[in-house]
């Protein structure tokens, strides 16, 4: 157990200290910070602090709603009323206001107001504030019992027939967040798979295997490396999730209009349930490839194709959104390599029947166990074949007979007998 831990620790520390890891892990947060920063700058820096004037010829606007709007948003644009357009125009020229609206007498039927400004148009946020002011004034004229409905709108809840899921029409962040989480989780898993492939081929490239396996068993070596790389994955995910949480908070601050965010716990729960077996499946496949090939580069070409099998659902995103319960989607749900992404994507927009979840998870666990079993055996067969690729026929022969297969005649001299 101590050796397993030592190998895991060594693998973890070596990876997280690598420049490529730092670039991958910190690159994403850096991008988020840049986007967030720009968003905040646009939201804050683009605003004109001067009041917005208005001339109300219709009598619709009611100054008494302003304190309530101010209370709702501390940065609500100050509104300044003028008796006529001449006064408003003079104030505009005197630079006292950034612009003014003229609300005509027939506003209720024409539904149009005129905006006058000097050089630059008021920001969208300022214009939204004025619209809010108009809406609040109109609502105030309605009977008290309908005012909340008019001001807060409807919240349509869609509940699945079996009552297990409920989707709210509100919360755009709540809709996007699962997708972001899914892709991050998946990206982290496939990155760890790539690292594992490297870790296996590196032992062969460096000819270190023979020394290592006189200290630990090949199974301990592989298990330790996998454990270390799961740690690397989790570090990656935790860093990104922390950045996302901070990013969301910043964005909420910058855009007060965004709905409150509720974490998609159900998606996270499912992701965790499928995370371990999916990692196991990828790990087993990568170890198998690493056991067969001689150099990391050869392995990467093959693993690129394998990765395609895992990211297939992304190519069918439109189908996921439009027909999440189609037979094709059910097929992708049950197929081990595509189960992780398909289920989480479907879950975000619809429901997945319990039987499909259970069968898919079962198949995934079985195939993960099988791939790890295969990986461990192929690794043993190929671990001392320095500079020599293991033929598929030899793998089958080795697995069938449990004996080390014969070397290829043209490369037999590469293994010391």
């Amino acid at each position: 157990m101590r050796k397993l831990w030592l190998i895991a620790k060594e693998e973890y520390l070596r990876r997280v200290k690598q420049k490529s890891f730092l670039v991958t892990v910190l690159g994403f947060p850096a991008l988020m910070i840049v986007i967030g920063g720009i968003s905040v700058l646009v939201a804050l820096g683009g605003r004109d602090a001067r009041p917005l004037g208005y001339v109300d010829l219709s009598g619709v606007l009611d100054e008494r709603v302003v304190p309530a709007l101010r209370a709702e948003s501390g940065r609500f644009t100050e509104m300044r009323v003028y008796d006529d357009e001449d006064a408003a125009s003079a104030a505009l020229r005197a630079d006292e206001i950034q612009a003014y609206y003229v609300v005509p007498e027939d506003y209720l039927s024409a539904k149009e107001a005129r905006l006058v400004y000097m050089e630059s148009e008021p920001s969208q946020r300022t214009r939204q504030d004025f619209q809010e002011f108009v809406r609040a004034s109109l609502v105030r004229q309605q009977p008290a019992e309908v005012r909340p409905l008019l001001s807060e709108g409807f919240n349509v809840a869609v509940r699945s027939a079996d009552g297990r899921r409920e989707l709210s029409a509100r919360g755009i962040v709540g809709f996007i967040l699962p997708f972001v989480m899914i892709f991050l989780l998946f990206f982290a898993i496939s990155t760890a798979g790539g690292y594992l492939l490297q870790a296996v081929t590196e032992e062969k490239e460096n000819r270190t295997m023979e020394v290592i396996v006189t200290s630990v068993s090949p199974e301990q070596l592989i298990a330790g490396k996998s454990l270390g790389l799961i740690g690397v994955s989790l570090t990656q995910i935790l860093t990104w999730v922390s950045v996302i949480v901070v990013g969301v908070i910043v964005l909420l601050y910058a855009n007060e209009g965004l709905d409150a965010v509720s974490l998609p716990w159900d998606v996270l729960g499912l992701a965790i349930a499928f995370f371990v077996p999916t990692f196991g499946l990828i790990a087993g496949i990568m170890i198998t490839i690493g056991g067969i090939v001689t150099e990391a580069q050869q392995g990467q070409q093959i693993s690129g194709l394998i990765n395609m099998l895992f990211i297939l659902p992304i190519f069918f995103m439109v189908l996921v959104l439009s027909r999440p319960d189609s037979p094709f989607m059910v097929g992708l749900t049950l197929f081990p390599t595509t189960a992780f992404l398909t289920i989480l994507l479907r879950w975000s927009v619809s429901t997945v029947p319990l039987w499909q979840l259970a069968v898919s998870w079962g198949l995934l666990v079985i195939s993960a166990a099988a791939s790890i079993w295969l990986g461990a055996r192929v690794f043993r067969l190929g671990m001392l074949r320095y500079g020599q690729r293991l033929r598929i026929g030899a793998v089958v022969e080795g697995l069938r007979t449990g004996r080390t297969p014969q070397l290829r005649a043209d490369a037999a001299d590469k293994e010391v007998v």
């Binding site: 030592l6 460096n206 000819r207 020394v211 290592i212 006189t214 001392l384 004996r403 070397l407 007998v417």
Partner: protein, 312 residues
Amino acid sequence: MNGTTNAAAAVSGLAKSFGQFQAVKDVSFEVYPGEIFGLLGPNGAGKTTSIRMLLDIFRPDSGTVEVFGGPMAEAKKARIGYLPEERGLYQDRKLASTLVFLATLKGLSEAEAHERLDVWLERLDLQEHRNKKVQELSRGMQQKAQLISTLIHDPDLLVVDEPFSGLDPVNTRLVKDIIEEERRAGKAIIMSTHQMYQVEALCSRIVLINRGSTVLYGEVNKIKREFAGNAVTLEGQGDFEGLPGVLESRRENGAWHLALATGTSPQDVLRDLVRRDGVTIERFEVAEPSLDDIFIRVVSESPEDREGAVHA
């Protein structure tokens, strides 16, 4: 082989096939504490496969392996130091951290590993390179670094495969001294090499493997005595090559050294030489065969011609 001997390692009747190719057919030997044991054989004889079976890297198809009085176990691996012929260290990592990592896998604590590493780096003149990446070191330096990883955990059984390859004379002497020291400290050492003069200088007993089978096994002195009369040294002028019954003729320090095949006596050779035209003999004597001669003779002769392994 039985469990009552104090052998550090004992293998008996080892056999191993790779597909249709039988790499090892029948290899047996025992190694005791306080001795340097030579594991010899031509390329492809099955030496490395035998070592790998001894170290539990390969499972034998048949035969038994005992280490420290019983089958190999995880805990026993910490008592073994192995210097493989295919040298390998993590090229992109720093020397000191790589060696400390390998030492901790052999059961040392990090503090202990650092402490011992300092002593070894100093001794092998690598101290100033400790923070360099392995790939920045010369082949000889990497060789010495690998030797440190073999010895740092103070193993009771050492298996060194071609320990002198890639070393200059100074470092060869240094490594030789270290191996001798380990023997004096009571360690059992298995040394596989093609440098016969090193075997003669260091080993007390040897096993010679040819085509996967043990063909010669025992004490070096006894083996040499048994093979005495199978070589002659002579000085003179003329052609001393291509003589019947002579396996090899080579010139050494101005004299000719002839290795004789089984059934060929020094008198037979002398008779043939006298009959040759243009040959003048100034000195002719029966030589004690070197291990080189014995090696060449045993290996050159087909194993089918021999009744079985020679035990001395």
